[in-house]
Every structure is written in C-alpha cells, then in structure tokens.
C-alpha cells in the first residue's frame, strides 16, 4: 500500500507541471548581458562574461548605485531545468516610499537570420508576477530560463543613502531570495540632456497595423477617435520617459497629407485659408502644451521639436508653383498658423518646415531630403523667402527650416546660411567635416546626425555608440531614422529590429506601446552622458570626452573623425556611394564593434567622477 502511494506521488510530480520538481535558481545580471531562454547569454554579449558577477558583492548581495532623478537597471533570470510554475517579486524597503521598481518580462524573439533567440521587447508586469516555464505565450520548446528587466526609479526627492530590498522567487515549496542593496547617490541627473535623441516615424498607418484589434473594433473613423490620439500621445510619452523625443511626419513624397496632421484649408489663391483646427489641435495640443506628459515621471513639458505638414503641395498647391498664387496660399496659411500657435501659447517648440521628398519618388522635381544636385538649393532659398514674408520677426513662435543633408552638406551649410537652421546630417559624411558642428552652433544653428538603431544581433552596448558619438562630436543630437517598424512578425520571426525600439503592447492586452531593452540601455547611457557633461565646469570638456572615448573602446577623439577625403573637393553630384564608404574607412576600422562592457566602463567613469565608485 505504501509503495502504491509513492508511485502515485511520483506520477503526480510528472503530471503536475505546476510543481517545481528540480532546483530552480534566480540570477541577477547587468543590463549588458542579455539572457537567452535556455540559461545562457546571447552570443553577441558573451564577450562581456567578466561582467556576470559585477552586480554582486562579497556577501552575494546585488549592489546597485543610482543618482537621483534617474534609473538603475538590472536583469533577473528565473532558471528552472524542468517545467515549473513560479512567482517573482522585487521589493525595496524605502521608508519614504519614493523609490519605485518597474518589472518587465523580457520577450525572446526568434530571429530568422541566425535562428537564435534574443530578448528585446519588455512586457510590463506587476509583482508578484506568477507564471510558468516554459512561458506559455512565448512558445519556446525546452525553455528553461525567463528573464526580467528591473528598472529602479530614484526620484529627485529620494534621500541619499542605502536602501535594502530583495528579489524573491517562489517555485513550488522553495523560496529563493536575492538580497538587494541600492545606494542612492547625492547627485541628481540633470533634467536636460546634452544630446537630443530623436525617434523618427512616418505617417500613422503603422498604428492601425500594430493595433489591429482596436482599429477593427472601432465602428467610426478610428483615425479621428480619442483612442487614436491617446495612442499617438502614448508613443511620444514612452520616448520622453526614456529621455528621447519623437517625430511623426504627416505627408508623403508626392505631398499627400493625412488629416490628423493638418488644419483644414478652403479656397484657392488669395482666398485660401484655414477653416478648421479641430483634428490638428486634438493631435498636437497636448503635445505642444505638455499635458500629454502630465502623468509621466519627468513631468509635463511641451515637445521641443515638431514637424509641420508643410511640403511643396501643402498649404499651397503646386499647380501654382512660381506664381503669385503659390506665394499667396503659402504666406496666408503659414501666417494663420503662426497666429494660432501664438494664441495657444505654443512657444516652447521649434516648428519645423522640413522637406522630406526625393525626386526619385516622382512627386516633385527637386530633392528636399539629402540634396545631391546643387541646383535644388534654389527651392530652399525660395521657401526661406516665403517664410520670412509669412512670419513676423518678433514672433514668440519658433519656426525653423530643417534640412536633412548628406552629399552636399558642406555647400548647404554655406549657401543656406540663415535659411536652414536645423541640420540633420548623415553621420558618415559629417565625419569628414570636423569643424562644421562648432561653426554651425556658433551661428545659432542646431546640428543632429542620423542613423539607425543597431539590431538585436549586435551586442547590447551597440546602441550607446550613437549618443556617445553625438556628445564626442559636439553636435546637439542624433536621429534614429525609424523606430516604430517591427517587421511582419517580430514575436516569432524577427527581422532583427533595425527599425524598431518600441513595440505594440496590444498582444499583451495593453493599449499602449511597450519599451525594449535597447531603449532602456539608451536611456541609461543618456543619463550617464548628462552626468559626465555636468562636470565640464570642473574640468575641460575635451578631457571628459577623451576619457569617455578611451573607456568606451580605447579610442581617441581623433578616431571618431575621418580625414577630409579628396572627394569633398569635387561637386557632390559627381560623388559615388562607394567612394563615400571608402572615405569612412578610418572610423569604420577604429570604432568597429565596441565591446560588451564598453558602456559599463563609461558608466564606471561617471560614477568615479561623482565619487560613487565601488
């Protein structure tokens, strides 16, 4: 009889997957070692193995240090060699209840290119989080490890000192506790970033695609619904919370405008005017007065930059280009926009007149984006004239003409001086012109450079190279050209994520976007850069930059620039793309593949400056 009971017990153990049969474990990992779902580290991050124990002290406590008004991040990995139910909780015993802990489940994406799993999307969960391994929705056969991202938010009012806590894993009858110790440093991270990180996007149709259930459930015009505008604001908010900004372009290459980006116009020629601001104001009002961010930890603040819908076909009809009617339509409507913005008090934002079209898309006969043929600059000059005519010089509303430049940038810097004041430059070509950023900034222009996010198949620190380069170069910012396009199936057939940094939360029952590991690492990097830069009153900025570059990848500041190539002295319409690549050989070699610990080392430098190293 006893034997019979024992056999039943064994059978139950096998049949009841909720029971934790084998030894589970809980490991803390630094942000730069991304776990795979089988208990290992993803291949690109394995070079940083020495960081594996970096979070632990001699008493096997997880030791964290954080500045006020910022985040400290780490990862927790639940390991169970056999299927098991578990629950995970992270707590910090902050007597003032100011410090907050955000827990995210890491989604493991299967990348088609190399047939490996990479964690990236972060699903917000509340602790204690209960689930099981393998995680049912991630559908990974033989999954033995589930990773979690932990953000510890240290508000500005947090008291400096030590706060203890623990991460606790319950699996079956066993409980594993990992002690945590957070040191809140006295210094606060500057609220203002020294480099602006922009996340660009085009149109709104991506929202209908990625929030298909909401879109299809809605009975009216979803693109005019409160739900739709809330979603747009949520996208801005998630980037803002991660120390970034967002741009959303509202027109196509032949001038088609989507209704939510424009006021309604009526009439032609001198009679053309704005008749309805409703959709425009619903879209932009909360962004331009900052109320869209009222619930954010960073507080309400108007967005600093925004695209206007202005293009060669809006607000003036291209039918009248070069004629008095074009000038009348353009000037009248732009003047009305200025008055409306002024009345609304939208005076903290740079309103960008930006031409994105390329002639290869057959809409217009000149390139607005990345001018190659110098003759096209005449169109910019004409729009500059029209803007001057439309806008009062003493207006508190800031209109700027922005140009995204590559081939011809050096000429454009000269020819369009005083016309274009916001430059978004190809990073590769700007690297030929070391003196340009300072010269442009000295005359009051804003200079960004552009590129794209690294894919998840690059190491975790790769994304930090973009903001660092901006800071080392002395430009104002960096633009990810596209960060909302996850591909057809990011969850099970991932394209690598070279055009996405936030994902739709709809799959997880959420009505808003969710962040990624890369976005979190980028935010933490921006915090460090803001701190590093804040020491420029105590030591020369170039020495701070030099040391950061050295710690990052053993480079010098010179390594971040290319020598001026011979092709820079021939007309840009005679350049070839392959010769540009050749001219970037120096930086390509000297900056290739920063190590996994590259940013960890820079962070340690920032801590050292602030007197907070171990």
């Amino acid at each position: 009889m006893r034997r019979f009971h024992w056999q039943i017990f064994l059978l139950l153990l096998l049949l009841l997957p909720g029971y934790c049969r084998a030894a589970a474990s809980l490991e803390a990992l630094p942000e730069f070692l991304r776990p795979d779902p089988f208990g290992g580290i993803v291949t690109p991050d394995q070079g940083g193995a020495r960081l594996r124990s970096s979070l632990y002290d001699a008493r096997h406590r997880v030791v964290l240090k954080g500045w006020r008004d910022g985040y400290v991040s780490f990862q927790l990995v639940v390991n169970s060699p056999a299927p098991a139910a578990y629950s995970l909780e992270v707590s910090l015993a902050d007597p003032a209840h100011k410090i907050q802990t955000d827990l995210f489940r890491e989604w493991s994406h299967f990348a088609d290119a190399d047939k490996h799993y990479y964690p990236d999307a972060l699903v917000p969960v509340h602790g204690p989080y209960s689930s099981r391994l393998p995680e049912p929705d991630n559908k990974i056969a033989q999954q033995t490890a589930q990773a979690f991202w932990v953000d510890v938010y240290v508000p500005p009012e947090a008291q400096p000192g030590i706060v203890s806590g623990k991460a606790r894993l319950k699996c079956g009858a066993s409980t594993i506790a990992v002690p945590l110790q957070l040191t809140v440093l006295n210094r606060a991270i500057p609220a203002e970033d020294v480099v602006t990180i922009d996340h660009n996007s085009y149109g709104s149709s991506f929202l209908a695609e990625q929030y298909g259930s909401a879109y299809h459930r809605y009975s009216g015009n979803w693109f005019e619904s409160d739900q739709f505008f809330r979603l747009i604001h949520a996208y801005h908010r998630i980037y803002y919370e991660h120390r970034g900004i967002m741009h959303q372009l509202g027109y196509g290459h032949a001038g088609k405008v989507s209704t939510e980006f424009v006021p309604v116009l009526w009439g032609t020629g001198r009679a053309r005017h704005i008749v309805d601001w409703t959709l425009f104001d619903r879209h932009y009002g909360p962004l331009l007065d900052g109320t869209a961010f009222a619930s954010s930890r960073r507080g309400p603040r108007p967005i600093p930059f925004v695209y206007l819908p202005i293009n060669p076909e809006w607000p003036a009809s291209y039918e009248f280009w070069g004629e008095p009617g074009y000038e009348a339509e353009f000037v009248n409507v732009l003047s009305e926009m200025q008055r409306h913005f002024r009345e609304k008090g939208w005076t903290h934002t740079d309103f960008e007149v930006f031409f994105n079209h390329k002639k290869r898309y057959m809409g217009f006969p000149w390139d607005g984006d990345e001018v190659r043929f110098p003759k096209d600059l005449n169109y910019f000059l004409e729009y500059g004239r029209l803007m001057k005519k439309a806008l009062p010089q003493d207006s508190p509303v800031h209109f700027v003409m922005r140009a995204d430049v590559s081939w011809d940038m050096e000429q454009q810097f000269k020819v369009l001086k005083g016309v274009v004041t916001l430059w978004c430059s190809s990073g590769g070509i700007l690297s030929f012109y070391r003196d340009a950023p300072q010269a442009l900034r000295d005359r009051g222009d804003v200079v960004w450079y552009y590129g794209g996010p690294p894919t998840v198949t690059e190491n975790a620190a790769a994304i930090t190279e973009r903001p660092l380069r901006a800071w080392l170069w002395g430009v104002n910012g960096y633009v990810h050209w596209l960060t909302i396009a996850p591909g057809d199936d990011p969850w099970f057939h991932f394209d690598g994520g070279g055009t996405v940094l936030v994902y739709s939360g709809e799959r997880f029952g959420l009505t808003e976007p969710i962040p990624s590991i890369r976005l979190k690492i980028q935010r933490n990097c921006l915090q460090d850069i803001a701190v590093l830069d804040s020491f420029k009153n105590q030591q020369p900025l170039d020495s701070l930059r030099s040391e950061a570059a050295h710690r990052f990848n053993n480079s010098t500041l010179d390594d971040w620039w290319n020598p001026r190539p011979p092709l820079a002295d021939i007309p840009s319409d005679q350049w070839q793309g392959s010769s540009i690549d050749a001219a970037m050989e120096h930086t390509n070699k000297s900056l290739a593949h920063p190590g996994v610990s590259a940013w960890y080392n820079v962070h340690e430098y920032a801590l050292q400056l602030a007197g907070g190293t171990k």
Partner: protein
Amino acid sequence: MKTVYLVSLFLALATLAPSQDNPATTSTMRQEMESVARVGSVMVDGDVCQRIVTPLAKEYMFKVDPHDQWLAGDNYDVDDVSFNITKKTLIRLSHLASFPSDVNLWMPIDGHPGKIQMVIRNKNEMSQFWRWGDLYQDMVPQMETVLKTGQRVTVMDRPGWISVLAPVYNSLGDVVGVIEAVSRAKIDAHENVK
C-alpha cells in the same frame, strides 16, 4: 489664347461632371476619368515630357553596383522646368473630376522595350500600377497597348479602382508616354504617407 482655351475647356467639362453631392458611382467615375484622360491626351505635351528625365538619370537607371545599392536612385534627376510644366497640366486635369483623382505620367525607357517608368505622381498618391519606390518596372500590358495603338484603355483590375490610360503625343505624332487618370471609390487618407 491657349490659356483661355484651356480654361473654357475645363469649365465645360466641369459642368458636365456630376456634383460633389452625388455618390461617386463606378459608372460616374468611369465616365469622368475617361473624359479626363481624353482631354489629357490633347493637353499634355509629349516633347516636354521627353525632356523631363535627364541623360544622367537614364544612364544610371539600370546600373547595378553590389557596393552601392542606391546607385540608380542617387543619380535620378529631372529637368525641373519640363517637370513643372507637365505636372501643373496634370494637376489641372485632375480638377476636371468631381471627386479626388490623380493624373500620373508614365513613360517608356529608350533601349529597354520591356520596361516603363512612373515620371510624375500627384498629391493623392494614387496609382493602380506603381510599385512604391521603384524607378522603373516591367511594362504594364495595358500601357503597352496604349503605346502601340494610341487607344485609351480603362483598367479596373483592383476592386474599387479605376484607371484610364491614354496616349501622350509629341510633335512628330509619336506616342511617347501614357497618362494614368486614376481614382478609387474609397479614398485611403493614410496610404502612402511614408
């Protein structure tokens, strides 16, 4: 004088067109698009069209460099005077319809008989044929018919869409291009805003 003629013609056609209050039925759309295409054949100047795409753009259009995937696009250029003259005419033609429509210009490519390229698009960004972003594409059979015969062809292959293809003549009497007068029953305000 030419302008007066144009305006009169447009006004006459606009009077014939159904008012905006009427539902744009397929037959109405077809009738109007055919009118637009017919007028377009008269008004669009084929000699000007032939000057739009520059020799440089033509030289590079079919070049492939494994080290430079954007070679053809980066060398794409147009003569803006010819482009603007033609585009303005196309825009005015589209005003003949009582509903949103576009009139696009397509042209064959010298030395590449099986290919055709979109040369001018317009503000509603509609076309039944354009593969977004392509500099050129395989010849559309219906366009080949227009180029060979000079006959207008109506295409309604995609549900809810109508395109009327019509010839563009130069001063020698040759058919040198095709205009696509196009509309659709349900306008998608967000398509192609990218």
